[in-house]
Symmetry: C2
C-alpha cells in the first residue's frame, strides 16, 4: 500500500467545495494531485488566496497542489480522475474526456445525484459516465461515497467512505490516508443510490427542523428514510446490506444531522414558506436533493414503489404542497405493527 | 381506540425527567394519570412549582395530574403502571409491587438499561420485572422504547415509539396520542436491547465529539454502532429487523446526535480527561450507559461476541484507558471490504 500510495497521481475535476476538499486532502497527504476546473479564473483566485475562499474558506491549499483548466492536461497528468462536479454536468464533461482517456484510466464519480438520459430514463452517475464514454472505451469507472462533508475532509477530520466499481481495491489502497479511510464494496448500485437518495431525506429533515420538530422526530425520520431508500435500492438491483453501511445509513445520518448539509438548509428555508427558486438563489450552491427528489419520485412511480418521504418532498418542491400539511400526513399514518 | 383511550388510567412510577414527561404528556392528552415517586417532598415541590424544576424545567404540569408517594395507591389507581425509574431500581420496586398487582395489571418498562441478577446473569428490564414478580404472578409485562427525549415528550414535540410484550396492541391504542405515536413489535428482546445498548454508543459519540471529531465520524460511528448492537441482539435471540426500526437505529440516532443525551454528555466530559466519578457527580442524573457498558461487555465476553465500540467505552470508563488511544484504534482497523 505504501508503494502504491507513493506513486499515486490523482486529478480532481471540479473546484467546488467537495473537489477542493478532496484535492487539498490528497495533496497534503503526499499524493501528487492536480485540481481541474473549467473556470481558469476560479483556479487563479484559489491559488492566489491560498484557499477556496468562496466554497471552502479556512482550508489552506498545500504548496504542492497543481492547478489546470485544461482537461487534456488533467488526463495526461493522472490515470485516476475523480469527478467532483454537479451531477447534471457529469455526462457532458465525461463526453469531453472520452477521447482523452485510455484503458489505464479510471473515472471515479464523487457526485451524489441522479440524472435523466436523453431517452428519459433515470441514470446513476456511473451509468451516465459509461453512456458518455461510449461502448468502445475501456476506461475504468467507479464510485466513491459515504459520510463526507467537504468542510471536514478539507480539515483532515476523520472520515470513512466506500469505493465500488472497477479496480476498487487499487483505489482503496492508493487513495486512503490516515484520516480518510476507504473501504471497498462490490455493490455499485447500492453505493450510488445511497448517496443520491439521502439528499431528499435531508431536505425532509430540514423541513422538520424548520417546522420545530426535535431530535425524537429526527430519529424517526432517519429510520423511515433508510427503509425507504433500501426499498427503492433493492428494486433497482442493489444489495440491502449496503444501506446498513457507510454509504447508506452512515451518510444519511451525517447529512440529516449536520449544519454542513446544503440539502438540509434547503428544507429549513422551504419550511419558512420561501419559494424554491429564492431558496436556491440564496444558497448559491447546488443542492443535489432537489433534482434527485424529482427523478426518484418519477422513477419509483414507474417501478410501482411507494416513497412516502421523498414523494412528500417532491410535492413540496415542485407541486406547491404545504410543508406542514405534508409532514402532518407522514406523522399520522395509522397505528399498527412497526414492520 | 377513542373509547379505550377515554377510559385509560395510567400510573407513572418515577418523577425524574422521563417519568415526569410521560405523566405530563398523558395527563395533558386526557388520560387519567397519577405520578408516583418514593420521595413525597419531590412530588410536593413539583406540585407547588407547577413544574419539575430540577429535572424537566419549563414544562408545566397540567392541573389534572395526580400525585402520590404510596405504591398501594398507585396500583389501586391504574391497571397500567409505567416504570420510569433507573434500571438498577426496577427489580426492587417491582418486588414491592408484586403483592399489589393482579392479572389485570400490566407493568410497562420505560427504563433503558441492563441489570445483573443475584446469580450474576445479565438481565433485561422485563426479565428483572418477571424475576421480581415471581413465578405465581399473572401480571402482564411489556416494554416501551424508541427515540424519546423527555424534554421533547414533555413539550409535546412529535415522537414515535414501540411497545412490545403482553397486551401490546391494547397499550398502543390506549397510550398513543396525536404527538406520541406508539407502534407494536413482537420482539421484546430486540426492543429492550436496542434501548439499553444505544447508551454506550452515545457515550462513544460524546467522546468523539469531545476529541474534536465531526459529523463524518459520527455517521461512521452510528453505522458501526448499530451493526454492533444488532450482532449482540441477534446472539441474544432478537430479530435483526428490530434494530433497523424506531427502537434500534431510530433511538441510536436521536441519542448520539442530541444535546439532550446525558450519556453523550458523559462522553464529552470523559474526553476532557475528567475521572468518571467526577463526571457522574457533576451530571447529577443517571446515565444508564455507564452500567450498560460494563454489563454488555461482560455478557459479550461470555457469548464470545466482539463489541469493539462498547468494549472501548468500557475500558475508558472502568479500566483507565485513554480516550484518544481507544478512538484511534477504532479508526485504524485494517482497510478491507466493508462487510
Amino acid at each position: 500500500m505504501a508503494n502504491e500510495a507513493a506513486r499515486t497521481r490523482v486529478a480532481v475535476l471540479g473546484a467546488g467545495g467537495w473537489g477542493t476538499a478532496l484535492a487539498v486532502h490528497w495533496s497534503r497527504a503526499g499524493r501528487d494531485t492536480l485540481l481541474w476546473a473549467h473556470n481558469a479564473k476560479r483556479l487563479d483566485a484559489i491559488r492566489s488566496a491560498g484557499e477556496n475562499r468562496d466554497l471552502l474558506p479556512g482550508v489552506p491549499v498545500p504548496p504542492g497542489l497543481k492547478f489546470s483548466a485544461s482537461l487534456e492536461e488533467a488526463a495526461a497528468f493522472a490515470k485516476t480522475i475523480v469527478l467532483a462536479i454537479p451531477s447534471k454536468a457529469v455526462g457532458g464533461l465525461t463526453g469531453r474526456l472520452a477521447a482523452l482517456v485510455s484503458s489505464d484510466h479510471i473515472l471515479v464519480s464523487a457526485a451524489k445525484g441522479l440524472s435523466i438520459a436523453a431517452d428519459g430514463t433515470p441514470r446513476r452517475m456511473t451509468e451516465s459516465i459509461r453512456d458518455a464514454l461510449g461502448a468502445g472505451c475501456r476506461c475504468g469507472v467507479a464510485v466513491l461515497s459515504g459520510p463526507s462533508h467537504a468542510e471536514e475532509v478539507g480539515r483532515g477530520l476523520p472520515t470513512t467512505v466506500v469505493v465500488a466499481g472497477d479496480r476498487a481495491e487499487s483505489l482503496r489502497d492508493s487513495l486512503s490516508t490516515s484520516s480518510f479511510r476507504i473501504y471497498t464494496s462490490s455493490d455499485v448500485i447500492g453505493v450510488e443510490l445511497g448517496g443520491a437518495l439521502k439528499n431528499p431525506i435531508a431536505i425532509a429533515a430540514g423541513i422538520g427542523l424548520g417546522l420545530g420538530a426535535g431530535d425524537n422526530a429526527l430519529g424517526a425520520l432517519v429510520t423511515r428514510g433508510i427503509a425507504e431508500i433500501t426499498r427503492m435500492g433493492v428494486a433497482c438491483g442493489a444489495d440491502a446490506r449496503t444501506f446498513a453501511g457507510l454509504s447508506g445509513i452512515g451518510d444519511l445520518v451525517a447529512t440529516c444531522t449536520s449544519p454542513h448539509s446544503r440539502n438540509r438548509r434547503v428544507g429549513v428555508e422551504l419550511a419558512k414558506g420561501k419559494p424554491l427558486d429564492q431558496v436556491l438563489r440564496e444558497l448559491g450552491m447546488v443542492a443535489e436533493g432537489v433534482e434527485s427528489s424529482r427523478v426518484a419520485s418519477d422513477w419509483a412511480g414507474r417501478l410501482g414503489i411507494e416513497l412516502p418521504i421523498i414523494g412528500a418532498v417532491n410535492r413540496i418542491l415542485f407541486q406547491g404542497a404545504a410543508p406542514r400539511q405534508e409532514v402532518g400526513q407522514l406523522m399520522t399514518r395509522s397505528l399498527k405493527d412497526e414492520f
